[in-house]
Symmetry: C2
Subunit: 121 residues, 2 copies
DNA sequence: TTAACAATTAAACGATTGTTTAATTGTTAT
DNA sequence: ATAACAATTAAACAATCGTTTAATTGTTAA
C-alpha cells in the first residue's frame, strides 16, 4: 500500500498493513470488549465469576429489574461467558469454566485495580 | 445484605457484596472497554502501538475520512492511550508509553489470537 | 497577504443500545 | 385445573454512538 505522505518511516507503516489482523479480527475483538462496555454487565459478570445465583437474587444484588437483568444475561450467555441451569422454578447462572472466561475475569480485576486501586480490597 | 432467596450459599453471595468493587469502579472499567468496543478504534490503537503516523496517512491506512478519524483520535487521546505531536502542518499520533497502554495492547493481541488464531500471522 | 494543505470542530442524521412496561412461557404446589 | 411464583420475551421509548457534511482553525509556501 502506498501512503499519501512519506516521512521516511514508510517501510514500517507499509509493512505493518501486511501484518495487520483483518478488520474481521478486530471486529471480533471489539465485540468482546463491547460485552464489557457496560458497567452493569461487567459487575454482573464479575459476580458470576465468584458465585452462582438465581435471577431473583442477582436482581437484588444488582439492584435491577428482572427483565433488564435477563437482557444482559442473554448477551453474556450468547457469548459463552456464562452458563445456566434450571432447578425447579429457578434458573441459576455462573461464569463458564473456560480459559477465555477466566482471562476476561482477570482482565477486569487488573483494569479495576489499575483504574482505582482503593476501590478494590 | 439480605437476599430474597436462600439456597444455602447465602454466606458466599452476601459476603461477596462487601468485597465487591463499587459501581464507580466497574464504571471506570467499562469506560475503558467501551473505548475498545469499536472495531475501527481497536484497529487504530493497534496501529499506533506499532508505528507513529500523521492523520492523512492514518486515514489512508484505516480507509476512513479525516473527520471520522479525528473523532476517534480524540477519544483515545482523552483517555491517555495515545499521544500526539505537531510537526509543521502535520500532527503525528502514537500510543502512549505507559504501563496501562501496554497492557491494553497485549490484551488486544491476546483476544485477537484467541478469537481467531488464523487471522493473526 | 493570499493560496494551499492539514487537522479539528460543529451540527445533523441514522443506527445501535439499554431500560421500562406489559404480556407470555415455564414450573410447582394446592 | 388453577393459583402463585420465576424467568423470558416483545414492543416502545430515551439515550448514546459513529459517520457525514460543512465550516473553521492552524501552518507553510508563494
Amino acid at each position: 500500500m502506498k501512503l499519501p505522505h512519506d516521512h521516511g518511516n514508510c517501510e514500517c507503516s507499509e509493512n505493518l498493513i501486511e501484518k495487520m489482523p483483518s478488520l474481521e479480527g478486530f471486529s471480533i475483538a471489539s465485540d468482546i470488549f463491547k460485552l464489557l462496555g457496560d458497567a452493569n454487565r461487567v459487575k454482573l459478570f464479575w459476580l458470576l465469576c465468584h458465585t452462582e445465583e438465581c435471577v431473583t437474587d442477582l436482581a437484588a444484588m444488582m439492584d435491577m429489574s428482572s427483565p433488564a437483568l435477563s437482557h444482559h444475561l442473554r448477551f453474556l450467555k450468547a457469548s459463552g461467558l456464562i452458563v445456566s441451569r434450571r432447578e425447579g422454578k429457578e434458573v441459576f447462572y455462573r461464569s463458564a469454566d473456560t480459559e477465555f472466561s477466566d482471562m476476561l475475569h482477570h482482565i477486569i480485576e487488573d483494569v479495576v485495580e489499575i483504574a482505582c486501586p482503593d476501590k478494590f480490597s
